[in-house]
Structures are given as C-alpha cells and as structure tokens.
C-alpha cells in the first residue's frame, strides 16, 4: 500500500489526515518502547556498561539506585517517556549532566546540516533530472543519467574526503571542519556549512536526479501534456506548467525517504567535519557507553524519520487534488 492509497482510503481529507496523525502517534509510542526495550532489556546492565568491567559491585549497585535502575522496567519506561514529553531526557550516567539541553543544542546543528544538504540535493536534482528527461534521446541526456548513476554509488564520506582535500587543503577556500553558531558569526557559519552540506547533498542529489528524470519521463507521455502543446504551449513551458506538479507526486515520496537518509547520513558527515551535531553526540555517547544518552538520541532520530513520513503523506493531499475528495 502506498502512502497515497493510505491517505485516499478514508472519506474527507481532514479525516484522512487525522487518521494518519493517529498512526503517527501510535508509531512514535511503539518506537519509544522499542528503543527503551532495546537499551534496557538487553544484557549488560546500563550502570555496569557505563562504569566499565572493573567497577566494584558496590559501586554498580549504588549507581543503579542513584539512577533508579533497580526499579521495575515499566516504571523506568514511564518515567523516561514522561520526562521526554516535557523535554527532560534524564541525567547522563557518565557525565551526570542533563541530556535534554545538550540534545536540543546538537539537534539544531544537525537540522541546519540536513536542511542545507536537502537544498543542495534539490538544486542539483530538479534541473538535471528535467534536462535528462527532456533530452533522454540525445547524448547530453544520456551523459547526465550515466553521471547520476555513478554519483549514486559514491559514499557520502568519500565525497566529503575528496571535497575537503580539494577545497580546504589544496585551495584553502573553505574550512575543513568545525562549527560556528549562526548567531555568533553568520559568514563563518555559512562557510563552515558549505562543504558538509555539499558532501551530504551531492550523493542524495544523484539519487534524486534519477527519480526526477523518471517522473518527468512518465509525465511527458501523459495525454494532458499533449493537450497543453495543442493549446500552443512550447515544450518547456508546457512541462513547467502542467508536468512538474504531477511529476512532484512520486518525487515527494522519494524526498521523504531521502530526508530520513540525510538525517542518518549526517551522523557520518558530522564525524568527518567535526560538527557538534546529534550524530557526533551519538557516537561520543556510544564511545562513553552512555546508554541513556544513546537512547534519547536514537529516539529523537527515529521520531524525526516518522515525522517526515507523516508530512510526506499530508503533502500528497495538497499536491494531488484527486486525493482530496473521495
């Protein structure tokens, strides 16, 4: 069942969206249980993990009590979820600091990165995909689609390494890493954001190009495009006015999947560029064996993915009037 069918399934658009929202809430709830269970039930007591194998049993026991790990799992879960709902992600077993504020801070960095990456991907994919589709029988179109095929195969971190080598090390145009908050120095912030965003967006742009191309190819065969031409519209205006919105429907699905991929891809890119985002916090927390922090970060990332899927489904109803009424 596609997302479109799911939305179209019931009555008015408001009902459909409300139902989809219900699914989102249930999914988030189930995901929180899965994340919690994963961290809490699996062998290796979190306190033991945090303190390392050399910790004395007394110390482990004291830590367990301190963080409430000796209570029943259900109580621990409710406590955790209750806290998360108010923005309190608990206190780190390792640093003894509140996780929430740091998480929020890091999330900001990651969202900038993902947003900029998506923008780069769109800026690459939409024009290239359209040109490749319109010229698919000509050499230029074939070259574009071959290039996108190769682009898809390049791992984001390889792109990052090459870009750093060229633009930071050789040419010295842009910093090779690090983060300046936008409020502190907007220029430095932007310069620091370019290479990570391009690394992240380049590969996704290649993936997206292929989908844009095939969506535009499909839409070009539609009878209504012929009608538009018969009205006197020239090929590109006909495509822009009548084709793109219809081609957007399948592309938006992919866009949703891609946003999720970007969110996770950011983990790798943040590592390469030493950006203080959610991904590097996740890796640091894993290295520090800070399971509660890992649990919180994973939940935020998963909820992010679920939220994107929800928004994609809602966007369908906006793009395709056939789904608005049934």
């Amino acid at each position: 069942m596609t997302a479109a069918e799911r939305v179209a399934g019931g009555g008015s658009p408001a009902v459909a969206i409300a139902r989809r929202f219900g699914i989102l809430v249930v999914s988030v709830a189930v995901a929180s249980v899965v994340v919690f269970a994963f961290m809490a039930v699996l062998p290796g007591d979190p306190a033991q993990v945090a303190l390392g194998v050399n910790a004395t049993p007394e110390l482990v026991e004291r830590t367990r009590q301190e963080f409430g790990l000796d209570r029943p799992l259900v109580a621990q879960y409710l406590d955790w979820v209750g806290g998360v709902l108010t923005g309190d992600f608990g206190t780190s077993y390792v640093t003894k600091e509140a996780i929430g504020p740091q998480l929020l801070d890091r999330l900001g960095v990651t969202l900038w990165l993902v947003g900029a990456g998506m923008l780069v991907a769109l800026l690459i994919a939409v024009p290239t995909g359209i040109v490749a589709a319109v010229r698919h029988r000509r050499p230029s179109g074939v070259v574009v689609s071959a290039a996108s095929q190769v682009g898809v195969a390049v791992p984001a971190f390889l792109a990052a390494i090459i870009l750093v080598q060229v633009f930071a090390v050789q040419l010295g145009w842009l910093p090779s890493g690090g983060w300046t908050p936008p409020a502190y120095d907007a220029g430095a912030w932007l310069r620091g954001l370019i290479l990570p965003a391009v690394s992240l967006g380049l590969v996704q742009g290649a993936v997206l190009t292929r989908y844009v191309r095939s969506a535009v190819l499909d839409v070009q065969r539609e009878d209504f495009l012929r009608t538009a031409r018969a009205k006197g519209l020239r090929p590109y205006p006909a495509l822009v006015r009548h084709g793109l919105r219809n081609a957007a429907v399948p592309v938006v699905t992919v866009l949703g999947v891609q946003l999720a991929t970007l969110l996770v891809g950011a983990v790798v890119i943040e590592r390469v560029f030493v950006l203080p985002g959610l991904g590097s916090m996740l890796l640091d927390s894993v290295a520090a064996r800070d399971l509660l922090a890992v649990q919180g970060i994973v939940l935020v990332l998963v909820v992010g993915v679920l939220l994107v899927n929800f928004l994609v489904d809602v966007l369908y109803t906006v793009l395709d009037p056939r789904l608005r009424r049934s």
Binding site: I161, V164, R289
Partner: protein, 269 residues
C-alpha cells in the same frame, strides 16, 4: 539497456573473482606490518603502495572484497529470507495479518541500518556480526514490500484465479505460482539492496562500528587514510573507488535485470 546488465555483471564479477582469489592467494600478507616500507607509492612489489603501517594496499583491497561480499550476502540473505515469506503471507493471509506486517515494516523503516548498527554496537560492542544483523533487519521491509506487491499482482491473474476455482490450496498456489513469478522482482531487489548494504557496511567501518581490526575492510581503510589525506590521497581513493565500483556494479545489475524481467520499463531507464 543491455549495457547496464553487462557493465553491472562485469563489475560484480570482478569483485567476486577478487574475493575468491584472495581466499587462496594475495601478493603479500595484507596484515603484515613493516615499518621500513611505510607510505610507499606504487612499486612493482606493492602495486598500490603501502599504508602507514607498511601493509600492502593491494592485498588489503583484495581481502577487503571478502568482507564486503560476506557482509552483503549475509545481510541481504537474512533480509530476503525473512522479508519474502512475510510479504507473501501479508498478501495471501487474512487482512489483519497483512495490515500488521505492513505497519511493522513501516516502523522498522524508521530505524535505518546505520542507526540500528550503532544501537547494537552500543550494547554488544561493534563487530561484523552486529553490522550484518543491523543491515539485514533494516532491509527486511524492502523485501516484504516487493514480495507483497508481486504476490497481489500474481493473485489477480487468471491462472491463479483458475487454480483457486479448481480448489487448489493457498500454499500450493503460493509455491507453484507466486514464488516463481515474484522471483524476478526479488532478485532485482536483492541486487539493489546489496548495493545499499555495501554502502552501509562501508559507512559503519568508517565510523568504527563495523569489522574490527585487523581484518581488512574498505570502509576502515578509508577511515585510516583520513588523517593522511594531505600526505597521500591515494590511500583514500583506492578503497573509496572500490566501494563506488561495487555499488555501481550492483545498481547497474539491478537495473539491467529489471529491464530484462519487465521489458515494458526498458524505455524509461
């Protein structure tokens, strides 16, 4: 296009042969550390030079192909073995079961391979096994969806309707009609998933959550090369291009097979 299939098969074949040969023979011991030949450029003895420990890059690359294929085969095999029956079941079984399978797969999709692997690594410590399991589990929904869609298509065809009308059992139909008819789609999906698995494994090794040292892995070769980029970009390019070539190979193979199995789509690709 025929070209896709040929180029894809050639690239994949090259990696498979390399991995097989490396089981029996490599030019040098890929794990042999030799401080006297650190960071050597390409020489007749070291075709692709040596790394910072003086290990032979070409030999590492060959053995690394094993890791890549091994992780891919197990992960994709696991995903197909779980996902395909689930998908068929979702299409043929009662409505609630189909609903359950699809909703669950939606949920699993919210846990990308990389995230699952990091979660597993956080609890169990990183290893090739956690990477394979994580990638496998994250890929199950892809197979379940393909299998379900394919099964629904087969079930609507006349020959299955005839078989049903003839009183054949569900499972007979599943075995006799559904599986043979969806196998093409599953193979295409396997090829595409393999490419994604290779990328995921590389990313994990790059982050230090994949294959543990000293077993050579392309992702880790990349990671180790990072600090030496300014000195010698070759160390990053060699494994990087190897990863890209395999991913390209499997993607092209998938596209080529798709055109083969579904000629109607040929014009579009």
């Amino acid at each position: 296009m025929r070209g896709n299939l040929v180029v894809g098969a050639a690239l994949v074949g090259l990696v498979v042969v390399t991995a097989l040969v490396s089981l029996l023979w490599t030019p040098l011991d890929p794990q042999a550390v030799d401080a006297s030949v650190r960071l050597l450029g390409p020489t007749p003895e070291h075709l692709l030079g040596t790394d910072k420990f003086g290990r032979d890059v070409f030999s590492q690359l060959m053995v690394g192909a094993q890791t890549t294929l091994y992780v891919g085969i197990i992960a994709v095999g696991l995903a197909a073995a779980v996902g395909v029956p689930l998908g068929v079941l979702a299409a043929m079984g009662p409505r609630w079961l189909g609903e359950l399978v699809m909703r669950t797969s939606d949920l699993v999709l919210a846990f990308p391979a990389l995230l699952l692997a990091i979660m597993l690594a956080a609890v169990y410590g990183a290893s090739t096994l956690t990477a394979m399991i994580a990638i496998g589990v994250a890929t199950v929904p892809a197979f379940a969806r393909v299998a379900r869609a394919g099964t629904l298509q087969v079930l609507s065809r006349e020959y299955t309707l005839a078989a049903r009308a003839g009183g054949r059992s569900r499972w007979w139909i599943a075995w006799r009609h559904v599986l043979p008819n969806i196998s093409g789609m599953v193979v295409v999906q396997a090829s595409v998933s393999f490419a994604m698995a290779v990328l995921a494994e590389a990313a994990l090794s790059f982050l230090g959550f994949g294959t543990a040292p000293p077993t050579p892995s392309w992702g880790r070769m990349l990671q180790e090369s990072q600090e030496l980029l300014a000195v010698d970009a070759r160390l990053a390019l060699v494994p990087g291009l190897a990863i890209a070539a395999v991913v390209l190979g499997f993607n092209l193979l998938g596209d080529g097979l798709r055109d083969r199995f579904d000629p109607r789509l040929e014009a579009r690709r």
